[in-house]
Symmetry: C2
């Protein structure tokens, strides 16, 4: 990449960023958009515009607000998981900043003053260096003693990383402890999940069996058990009923609105067939009222039969003491691992009920199968995509989808399709990949949404590092010069030596694009804004509809963290080779901190709270990036024929030891709850065990009239 | 080894065995020897000669008694650990017997009928086969289709092993559960060990700190804590005092005895200097009485100051509930792994007090250092021994130890020393090795005797397999034909092919020697008998002295199990190559079962009870032997140029999977106690927590007059 295209790319990204920021400043002050730009505050019952309340507020106030917000604010507004994400951003920002402060002013002059106008000396191709390459290690001669500066830089980057990561792990551990220590009553702290309940030999129900088992072991602290049931059928009825209720309300609202215009009102009708397009025309209000009357007793009957007859081999067990629950989650209850598996309970809202009854062996086998599928996906995903691409050509489309023929014959459509069709499969694949990985992670038999998202995030990390980073760097190089290498296999090393720094400028523009355009879109929320306004205009009838239309999502860890990790991996790996990438990486994480501070405080609403369990996962992957950097540098120094290359060998070893020590020291507390943290302390409110118990009853079983009681009696 | 020397060796061993058995049959019926042959029964307060009581009992009655004894008898007389040892013996016996039933009648005829009078065909050396080798796989031609029989045999041995091992693991797990479930009060089930207690920030004693910490977490079930103290000083005084008491008693007894002869009595005197040889002559009774009077208050003062001032960073904590103690041992109490480490308590008698205060990091570092030392010892122990041997030659001895000159100049002494001196260092080393390994294991920071013995046993296993088996088989071969291999490096494979079966007959005699002579000595107890009678005659004065003289040891797991394992490894590895070894191996374990049944019921007294924690250790090592067998066979089939060799590749893989599944399924219950096992049940006696607590106070702190109280108050 030459200098002009490099600058063009940066400028374009920056202009898009400025436009989006102006849009944000303008749009976010409009009161009608408050639900798009401040949904989290509104949901928490706070005034969207903090304090001031004036409509003509400073459009850059959000920056001040983000900086002045404390970690406690983040935890209060969005939970520990969000605070951990900021620890991640600030730690990585710190690593890149401190590395940059040392590396840029030292390595750049060292490179630029080297007398070396030949690069491809081995191939005899004396090309003058690009300006950008002059700033990088590529400009250093082979065996040059100036490489010592790069060696020191490698150690500097590594040591900075170790220190900051250690501090961060400690800090996150404190955050987690503070949250778990909290005197608020959290239902999940009083419960454990019990899986693999063996078939009872005696003639008793599952519930009796579970109750007896735990009452024997914990005669004093056992409270109640909630046996997991097969809810498919009852859930279907429940959802149908809820849907009818919603539709009835909507029909009533429309009818009431129509009365305002016409005193008689327009009777709402709809067709009962497919998508409301076919079938008999009926009076909506009457139809839905009848349907609700019909479904309500059906639901009650289904609830009763489910609770009585469809009990599965797993349960949620409640204790009256947090310590007992925490200790139970860590203790072997049965002699064999495949019976009475007891684990900590996640929050009720993120419990994956359908995974609970999966047996131990099923889970183990599923896990290995999923790992295998992920391995295949990461390594060979190009094969099916290439196959599909070869079929989705214009001629094929015309042949197969004959009804599209008139459309496909238009010139503009053909041009656009001709350009995008070949990549269509890849684009669809990449868009669906996070969902696919999340689906796979859930298929492993994981019990909580947060755990499944962590697992999916890990898989995505491997995919992106393997395919984007390694793919672009090495694959690109090899592919470009495939023929040359065929002739002279030894030239592969020289090729890599020249192309590695060359790729740096590509990655710098990649990082810049990511933060300028990515954060611009994130902050300005253009897409959700448009969708919200469209929905409000054409679809929303009732207040609930409207609320649903602006309801914000969560941060989306399964894709966000692997993406950040990819940027970190790229930045770290090029940090010594092309130190200019460091400021860009630092801006990515610094700006990210600022933008997401705003998002977390005002926009996104977390789906769950895992009390920072994400951190060990992030920590290990940062270390993996660091390791990749160190190994890359080892290789690159080798290519530079630097005879002191072995002085770098301790670095990967230190990284392994550091990872081992950290996992030994900190990890256990993230895996399970330390008892000292939940030791008896005056709780804010006295624990109402019935409320704790009820919070775990799935909504489809939780009918309005005394559901819990019914739930108990019918057993 | 040719046939005649093979038969000679077997016959010699057998004759020694017969002589020892006759000796045993004769000596064991003598009432004076009852304390040597029935100490366990005597200590348990039982009649040495079960039931009959007549002195002219059948000398072979022990065989009938051993066979008729049940597993419950073993557990009652010697604990679960001994029962587990019999499970090991019977399982291995079963594996070898069932393998032998199939392998001997099939593989031997297959080998013997092969038309192959040439072995060293590749070297052109047409030696006629020895009779023994004709029975082995060596007699099969290369690429012979008869090798299929051997392939099937490999599978047969492996599958039999898997099935029997699985059953055994299940059975041992049941034994352990039954023992832990027992309604007898066992102090260790109410206690946990606490290590790595962090320095207290507040101004309070360790004990207050521990009490507060555990009272907060377990407000209802916490009973008391016992802080570990630095007992070196108080222990020294205590031992001195105990020694004085013993000596006083002895002097009094001798004086009383002398009165019977001479009414005045002979006043006991001794010298106070080195070894009683130098110094002032004093009246023993007076001297010791004074000394005791002097030491008793000193001990009390030392006890007080120790308890008050020498508290260490670890403690034993007692709970009033078995479930709490079991759960506490499995739970993380603190957030960091290096503080408040809580583990299950072992029995008080096997607690290694001095290891308790070692900190987490010290333990980790010690562990790695010990592993490293063991690795060096296993691989390079010959080097220092060779060095020492080169110094301990006769001329050197004469030069260095001039006072031995006249002795060394005698011809007979010189002949004997000349024969044994070169191996002296090796003999001393091998004799001290188990003790050295036990010392190393304790240096790791392990908290219980049983765990340390397991660790030592594991180390000894690697030593013996590596040095004896691999050393003899491969090393011997290579060394013998070193020059030939130098000339023709390819001949190494042929050498191995011929020498492997050749070694078989050596190992058969080795196994036979082990069981004929080893078990003969074990059963007849000639050495302890002689020592006892010598002691009784010359040293024992008081009743206590006499009791000490016949007090039997325990089974000695750290050397016994690795030795058995070595035999098993050898037998398994040769089972298919030379199936004749199988009956010998089976006899080793079958006869071992019989002999040790007698020993366990009547002689040995176990030092500790670990409730079968030895089993996972044994299980893994049996599988390691099986793996070695499978890998050896893979190699040997390769040497035989059998093109279907890869059909054996699944075997090692299955072994790994089997080991993994077993460890997953069973191991957790051996690592820690399953809660369902210790769930509240009516205990035989109501738990006297004070007794439980006191049983853990080390004897040197447990003075006679109200020691526990003093212990508590002074804190």
């Amino acid at each position: 990449m030459d200098l002009s295209s490099f600058i063009t790319s940066l400028t374009t990204s920056f202009i898009i960023f400025v436009i989006l920021m102006v849009l944000f400043a303008w749009l976010s002050t409009k009161p009608g958009n408050a639900v798009v730009y401040y949904p989290n505050r509104i949901l928490k019952g706070l005034d969207p515009w903090e304090g001031s309340g004036s409509k003509t507020r400073n459009p850059f106030a959000w920056i001040r607000e983000a900086f002045s917000s404390s970690e406690e604010d983040v935890i209060r507004m969005s939970g520990v998981d969000s605070a951990v994400y900021f620890v991640f951003l600030s730690t990585v920002f710190g690593i890149l900043l401190i590395s940059g402060i040392f590396l840029v002013p030292i390595l750049v002059p060292v490179s630029i003053t080297e007398q070396n106008s030949f690069l491809m000396d081995s191939t005899g191709n004396t090309s003058a260096f690009e300006v950008l390459d002059k700033l990088s290690m590529a400009h250093l001669k082979e065996k040059s003693s100036r490489l010592w500066a790069s060696v020191i830089a490698c150690y500097w980057v590594s040591i900075v990383s170790y220190i900051l990561l250690w501090k961060a792990y400690k800090h996150v551990s404190d955050l987690r402890a503070a949250a778990l220590k909290s005197t608020e009553v959290k239902p999940e702290q009083f419960a454990v999940l019990v899986r693999d309940i063996p078939p009872s030999s005696k003639d008793c129900s599952r519930k009796e069996q579970v109750d007896e088992y735990f009452k024997t072991i914990y005669p004093e602290t056992f409270y109640k058990s909630l046996v997991v049931t097969e809810n498919k059928e009852v859930n279907k009825i429940y959802e149908e009923l809820e849907d009818c209720k919603k539709k009835l309300k909507r029909a009533q609202t429309i009818y009431a609105d129509s009365k305002k215009v016409n005193p008689e009102g327009v009777v709402q009708t709809h067709k009962t067939g497919f998508l409301g397009l076919t079938g008999k025309k009926v009076d909506s209000i009457k139809y839905y009222t009848e349907k609700i009357e019909e479904l309500t007793p059906k639901l009650e009957a289904a609830q009763k039969s489910t609770v009585a007859e469809k009990q599965q081999g797993s349960a949620v067990v409640f204790f009256t003491s947090r310590v007992t629950a925490a200790a139970a989650g860590q203790s072997a209850h049965a002699r064999m691992i495949d019976t009475w598996t007891v684990t900590d309970a996640p929050e009720p809202r993120q419990l994956l009920w359908s995974n609970l009854p999966k047996t131990y062996y099923e889970r183990e086998i599923r896990q290995y199968v999923v790992y295998y599928i992920v391995f295949l996906t990461i390594c060979f995903y190009m094969i099916p995509i290439a196959l599909i691409s070869s079929f989705t050509t214009l001629p094929n489309l015309r042949k197969l989808l004959t009804f599209l023929k008139p459309l496909l014959d238009q010139v503009t459509v053909r041009t656009v399709l001709g350009a995008y069709l070949p990549q269509l499969a890849l684009i669809v694949f990449l868009a669906l990949l996070p969902k696919f990985l999340l689906f796979l992670s859930k298929a492993e038999g994981i019990t909580s949404e947060s755990h499944a998202e962590r697992a999916a995030s890990g898989k995505y990390f491997y995919f992106s590092v393997f395919n984007v980073f390694i793919g672009v760097t090495i694959g690109g190089t090899l592919f470009d010069s495939f023929k040359e290498i065929q002739k002279k296999p030894n030239s592969i090393v020289d090729k890599l030596a020249t192309s590695l720094p060359g790729n740096a400028s590509f990655f710098i523009t990649f990082v810049a694009l990511k933060f300028f355009v990515g954060y611009g879109l994130e902050l300005s929320r253009i897409v959700p804004l448009i969708i919200f306004h469209l929905k409000r205009k054409y679809l929303c009838k009732t207040k609930e509809d409207l609320e649903e239309a602006w309801l914000p999502g969560d941060l989306g860890y399964p894709t966000k963290i692997p993406n950040d990790m990819l940027i970190l991996t790229i930045t770290l790996c090029y940090s010594v080779i092309a130190p200019l990438i460091l400021p860009f990486g630092a801006i990515y994480f610094g700006l990210g901190w600022l933008v997401f501070r705003n998002q977390v405080l005002k926009v996104v609403v977390p789906k769950y709270e895992s009390y920072g369990k994400m951190w060990p996962h992030i920590h290990v992957r940062i270390l993996a990036s660091l390791l990749l950097f160190q190994v890359t540098m080892l290789g690159y120094f080798g290519i530079k024929k630097f005879i002191y290359t072995p002085v770098l060998i301790p670095l990967p070893i230190i990284t392994f030891i550091f990872a081992f020590v950290c996992s030994k020291k900190f990890y256990r507390f993230f895996k399970s709850t330390a008892l000292e943290v939940v030791a008896p302390r005056e709780l804010k409110e006295s624990v109402n065990m019935e409320t704790v118990y009820r919070s775990f009853i799935p909504p489809c079983l939780n009918a309005e009239k005394g559901p819990g009681e019914q739930f108990d009696e019918s057993v």
